[in-house]
Symmetry: C2
Subunit: 462 residues, 2 copies
């Protein structure tokens, strides 16, 4: 898949802006760029050092007469292998008019470049060994990151993350595999080149890492998409007011999605860098109305699928008895936060009864924005996430999750093989399969289809 | 208005893309950048040469512990005065996630930069003498340019255009003004330092240039906004088919604006680099229907306001007599193009009659895309525009048009003063006023209000 072409694309978002970047990468990038770029100081691009910037004009046509200046630009030269792609790269920083961008790209195409496909710059970076496959995938995650947590995960993965550890362990495993295959050559002499004890240690180390990584996927996924928090409670208990108050506090609404059902609204809020997906459910109450019953049933379903549910009630209206009754109605494994709202309207007596109830209740006033800190603190605690601990490795990519599972399966087979004194030739088969899967994570093993699938999700220009 | 601040803004369009550029400009740009940028190779930004690019991480927090990597970026250093603004500039090329862009900008703000106002980078470039005012204005025109003609005009103006000529003539005028003011000091001695003949030559040269520039505004304006071409003709004469055919030919639709009235549609098409604004009018026909009469009246109004009108008829259906009758109904100063459409359906006899009619008729088939070349050629001819002759100076900016008018008025007064042997002190008053206006074009004379008005129309980041 390594190309001989020189590819070009707009690297900045489309639309008008002060600046746009057009990126040219490939063997002939500097030659092609020289044909259209006339330096103000008369410099030749090809004689310039890597990582230098030059002011000049993009000119269409013969340089002496019959030429047309398309734009005054800055040209930045990166020389093979010291560039993003590992090839020669020229980046033109031009004025951000869509017309100019098109004219420059068209001109470069006429001079011999071709349009880059989605993710092709990063694909070349991978093929040229500038990054491994999981790092390349992290680039796309990084671009689409929209909260501190998803950003942190992507950065971690891009900087090596778990793939560097896998790479080392895979190398060690590869050494053992070679030794075992070597034993096969000397089968008649019954020698053991591979120290079985050391080998077992390595296998259990790998299996432990794989298990941890697989377990981390649930967390990773939740961090990427937001931790689902169902807000339940009677109508008028202040659910919407609370949501709005949290939004104002954090000034970080990510999106407001009108739910599929008329009565479910989801809001994404980033609190302390972690994204929570709040699911505002229908007000819960005893009802004989058939349609309302459906709404309540749906609310309970949302509650069961959430990681955390927040039970909100109006403490100026509901009695402790009623609260207890309602809480008994919730059968779910999700973590519970009981919130007494409207403390500004409740009497001292009402509050005192609740305080002495033995229930772990948070007292707030959503309207007055009172004690919201304790609520968000409690949420973060319940979320139990230490994503910002940069030593923890978290898998967020479902491809990785999938292959980690397959790798573990093979590693377990190897482990069982060792335990049951399986012959070297049979062990070697499982080992090869394990090495194959582990290699697919880092891209040490890859094929066109795999790469095609991965990079098709990139934007053009990356 | 020259600031002591260091300003920061996103310079690329907002939204997700492969790359985003964050621009930092000001006295402390490099110092502030150094505080957040950690070079991969351990380089100090402040020790780097101008126009060099460095790979590193944007890091928030203490460098040794408790830090957070926001992104891996390229930092480009430009040193005062060799930068766009003429100040120290650092551009960070980061991953194009909106989250990352915000995090980096927020970090730079915490480190002492402030958000740039609209057009502030270009304003500083002007204040630091990197460009004159009309060049600065051209930057905004360039960014919004969307056709070859508007682009060419903006590039020309940005590269100096007429303002450099005005600057030279103004300097000469300034010299004469000084001499005349000097004469006043020696009024009792009746000397003449300023050679009246030379002076008169200069005045007439300036007045000629101003007149030309003022005249060019009509053309410039039309080029910027598109040459209005009304398409008239009976219903079903093929107007829409023709428009679509032209669009396909040129593959350069600029916009489709549904008109204010149900029956008027405007389409912008760039032909041979010139933008035409086609106004598709209601079908014309004799009618007793009151509402339809209004539509026809509107069509005729559109026709009168157009530069060119294209009368389209179905030559397989209409007789020469009918065509002549309809043409007589159009009283307008706009240029006329008579187009016989549907030649593929007309009989030889029908075509022959039309050919011998003495009328200048273009024969086409919009449906079969036949002879469209002759039509577009005719359009360009009628448009009579040699905008692509880069020696022609064209004014497109209404502020310039306005001040050129005022300058000319004063120059005419000076001229009259010379002709009537006006005394030096009176001449000097008109001269000063003329110098003032001429200076406002190039920005040699400016004030905060003027600059505020001009740069308020820029985008932030430019």
């Amino acid at each position: 898949m390594i190309h001989q072409d020189t590819i070009v694309a707009l690297a900045t978002p489309s639309g008008a802006g002060a600046i746009a970047i057009i990126r040219l990468s490939g063997k002939d990038a500097i030659t092609i760029a020289s044909e259209v770029f006339v330096s103000i100081k008369g410099k030749e691009l090809s004689n310039q050092k890597s990582h230098t910037v030059h002011l000049g004009n993009i000119v269409d046509g013969d340089r002496l007469d019959n030429f047309r200046i398309i734009d005054e630009v800055l040209a930045t030269v990166f020389k093979n292998p010291n560039s993003y792609t590992g090839e020669n790269v020229v980046e033109f920083s031009c004025h951000g008019s869509a017309y100019i961008q098109q004219e420059i790209i068209q001109l470069l195409l006429r001079k011999g470049a071709r349009m880059a496909t989605a993710g092709e710059f990063t694909l070349q970076a991978f093929l040229n060994g500038k990054m491994d496959l999981s790092q390349a995938e992290a680039v796309a995650d990084l671009i689409s990151s929209d909260s501190k947590a998803s950003h942190q995960l992507a950065i971690q993965q891009m900087r090596g993350g778990f793939s560097s550890e896998i790479k080392i362990l895979r190398q060690e495993l590869l050494n053992f595999a070679s030794l075992i295959e070597l034993e096969l050559d000397f089968a008649e002499e019954d020698v053991e080149f591979a120290n079985r004890e050391e080998f077992q240690k390595l296998i259990s180390k790998i299996s432990k890492l794989l298990k941890n990584l697989i377990d981390s996927f649930a967390t990773g996924n939740v961090l990427k998409n937001g931790i689902p928090v169902a807000i339940v409670g009677r109508p008028n208990s202040g659910k919407s007011t609370l949501l709005n108050a949290l939004l104002n506090e954090e000034r970080a609404i990510v999106s407001t999605i009108a739910g599929t059902t008329r009565d479910t609204i989801e809001d994404d809020i980033s609190i302390g860098g972690v994204r929570f997906r709040f699911i505002d459910t229908a007000g819960l109450r005893e009802t004989t109305d058939e349609i309302e019953k459906i709404g309540v049933a749906r609310a309970l379903e949302k509650l069961e699928n959430s990681s955390i549910y927040m039970y909100l009630f109006d403490c100026s209206e509901m009695t402790l008895e009623e609260v207890k009754n309602e809480l008994q109605g919730f059968s779910t494994n999700s973590k519970q936060i009981i919130v007494a709202n409207k403390i500004d309207k409740a009497s001292k007596q009402q509050l005192s009864i609740l305080e002495k109830s033995g229930l772990e209740i948070l007292f707030i006033s959503a309207k007055e924005k009172e004690s919201l800190d304790s609520l968000t603190g409690n949420l973060l605690e319940k979320a139990e996430i230490s994503v910002l601990d940069s030593n923890q490795l978290i898998v967020t990519n479902s491809r990785h999750y999938d292959i980690l599972g397959k790798s573990l399966e093979e590693i377990v087979k190897v482990q069982e093989g060792i335990d049951s004194n399986l012959s070297g030739d049979l062990l070697a088969i499982d080992l090869r399969q394990a090495l194959y899967y582990l290699g697919e994570i880092t891209g040490e093993v890859s094929n066109d289809e795999l790469l095609g699938n991965i990079f098709a999700n990139f934007c053009i220009g990356k």
